[in-house]
Subunit: 373 residues, 2 copies
């Protein structure tokens, strides 16, 4: 729906048709001039800068409004684009961002996922099945115990071993000690198996320390990175993704970001948030809570995420949906049927509860996912 | 409720008493070990690392659960503290963070507001009334028109003139041209009036450009800064607040942060989000939508914010609540009664709609706020 001069955002709005149309008109003003429309004297401001309701139609019990904005309101800054999309309107209940169609010039400027779905397949050599991921946990274990666990995971054929997102730089497992130790453990296992398991340390930290940790992890031989931009900032993730001196695949974690998606009538849709926004900020894979686990996401919402991860978005590569959060062995066949091969399945606690030998459990995870080790 | 070894978070939880208690117990695990509790063998992990329900009691239709966590789960990192507080639980509906009692070691490490409420009073010389703020708008005006507007605001006795949060670096008003022009206009007016009106440019931008803009603004003679950490990142705001080479008061703007507060049963309370979190991240003043304007905040929620801005939080200074968003002259007496003197009143569009002479309108704003110019 984008012209070459305006970009479009689709919002879902709660209310009667009249209420929805009034709210849509208010969005046009709130997201741009934030000023009494009748008092505007400048013609350029009045005719070009103010948003326009391009269409509004019923969709279930809500209304879908497509609103266009002049490209120059956002310029080519991602933060200002998001400001026009949802800055003040995020504070109004009953309005949800459903879908973004960013300006071409902005998409051209963004790198997006450096590796994306196909790049992660190339790095791991896994082409004919979903990828497997597990997490080093629980928080509180020593570096030695975590490294030992990583070794066992890698021997069992896990493709990506990530730090649990709660492992930061705590006294029980300091970052600068954990990363080299786990890297060495995974390297040893890879030598024995001939596989290329990747270790993704959690680099989420305060301020520029996040970037230092990314560089340190790269130096230690980490194969990927995990970051929670809800804590470290979306822009910090994008900077790391676009930094050629780092050049590792980025796994997005949703910690502290749930408030954007957890209410169906406000915030941002699963499609736009986990699909479009993570790609614009350079994530190569997107961890999210699968349906049927400890969290409340529905099958429909998870389908939206998988769709958003691969929908057309300028030159930006598709990234890899990573459902997790309470997964168990018995659910893998259903998940495989639901997501197909283009996903990374994340099993944490479930890997521990299916038997005492963790390496055997990993092998079982591989078997039920479709390929005999 | 903090011991010297554990810190406490109060959550409100939707459900029956039994459901609320079950959810509270789940939070204890989800926010720490994220691992089947019965499979934990390590005693330190089981007895210390896992969160503890310290109390749970009915409060209206919900339950308030106080949960304590070992200080070492967060260490002294603010991002990891927030991760323990609400990382994964942010993705679960029906649970809201109500109040934080951060570890003393973390509060000791943070600078908090450099100026805070009293520091901004010292900078502006305003002690006996609420401060007055207005915004340069609408988006789309040229640098010359914005500078002219700033001059008129300053002549009329506005204490703080901020960029509208939608002014970034667009072609119609590039940052590096706007800031020196508006600084010069405000300086000229200050010379004429003898007052010390502060100009707060909007520095929100992509990546490290936000920090560059802060430094550029300082160099141009800006008296304060406005930033939307929902876009640029809370950590970016904190870095700028704690940077001695910048050293300007920081005005927090809530753009793109609304999803955290807009639903009463999930996200984070107005008290904790606008009060406690903005102070931990160094904001000296907090712009938020006042009750009765274009937004939906209630009087009770605004009271929470004003309380959170000054409640005890280690050595962190109180910051200044900044209600705005659809304010008009006739509401000022009620606001003054509600907030008292310890606030900065933000009027944007309302200043334009009360007469053709903008400087006269500013003087009226000053008169109704309590001091004759």
């Amino acid at each position: 729906m984008n012209s070459n001069k305006r970009f479009t955002v689709v919002y879902s709005i709660v209310g009667t048709k009249k209420e929805a149309l009034d709210k849509a008109k208010n969005i046009c003003v709130e997201q741009t001039i934030e000023f009494p429309y009748d008092l505007v004297t400048d013609k350029y401001v009045k005719n070009t800068i103010v948003g326009r309701v391009e269409s509004i139609k019923a969709c279930g019990k809500k209304y879908m409004a497509a609103i266009s904005y002049a490209n120059e309101t956002a310029g080519t800054e991602l933060t200002q684009f998001l400001n026009v999309v949802f800055g003040n309107t995020s504070i109004k209940p009953g309005i949800r961002v459903e879908k973004l169609s960013p300006p071409a010039a902005l998409l051209k400027k963004l790198q997006g996922p450096r590796f994306g779905m196909s790049g992660i397949r190339n790095l791991t050599g896994v082409y004919n099945r979903p990828l497997l991921c597990s997490a080093l946990k629980p928080m509180g274990l020593s570096v030695k115990k975590l490294a030992d666990l990583a070794y066992k995971f890698a021997l069992g054929g896990i493709d990506i071993i990530k730090d649990d997102h709660g492992l930061a730089n705590q006294a029980f497992s300091p970052f600068d000690k954990r990363i080299p130790a786990v890297c060495a453990a995974v390297k040893k296992a890879n030598k024995e198996t001939g596989a290329t398991t990747l270790y993704a340390p959690n680099i989420t930290a305060d301020g520029l320390e996040t970037i230092r940790r990314a560089k340190f992890a790269k130096k230690c031989g980490a194969g990927a990175l995990i970051i929670s931009p809800g804590l470290a900032g979306f822009e910090t993730m994008r900077m790391i993704a676009e930094d050629n001196s780092i050049g590792l695949p980025i796994f997005y974690h949703p910690a502290f970001h749930g408030s954007y998606v957890v209410n169906p009538d406000s915030g941002i849709s699963h499609y736009a948030f986990f699909g479009q926004l993570t790609r614009m900020h350079g994530a190569d894979a997107v961890i999210f809570p699968n349906f049927g686990g400890r969290f409340s996401f529905t099958e429909c919402e998870c389908r939206e995420i998988a769709d958003g991860c691969k929908a057309g978005l300028g030159k930006l590569k598709p990234n890899l949906p990573g459902p997790g959060g309470g997964m168990t062995m018995d659910r893998i066949p259903y998940m495989k049927n639901f997501y197909g091969h283009d996903a990374v399945f994340l099993m944490g606690g479930g890997l521990f509860s299916s038997g005492k030998d963790i390496t055997e459990n990993c092998k079982k995870f591989r078997r039920v996912t479709g390929t005999i080790l």
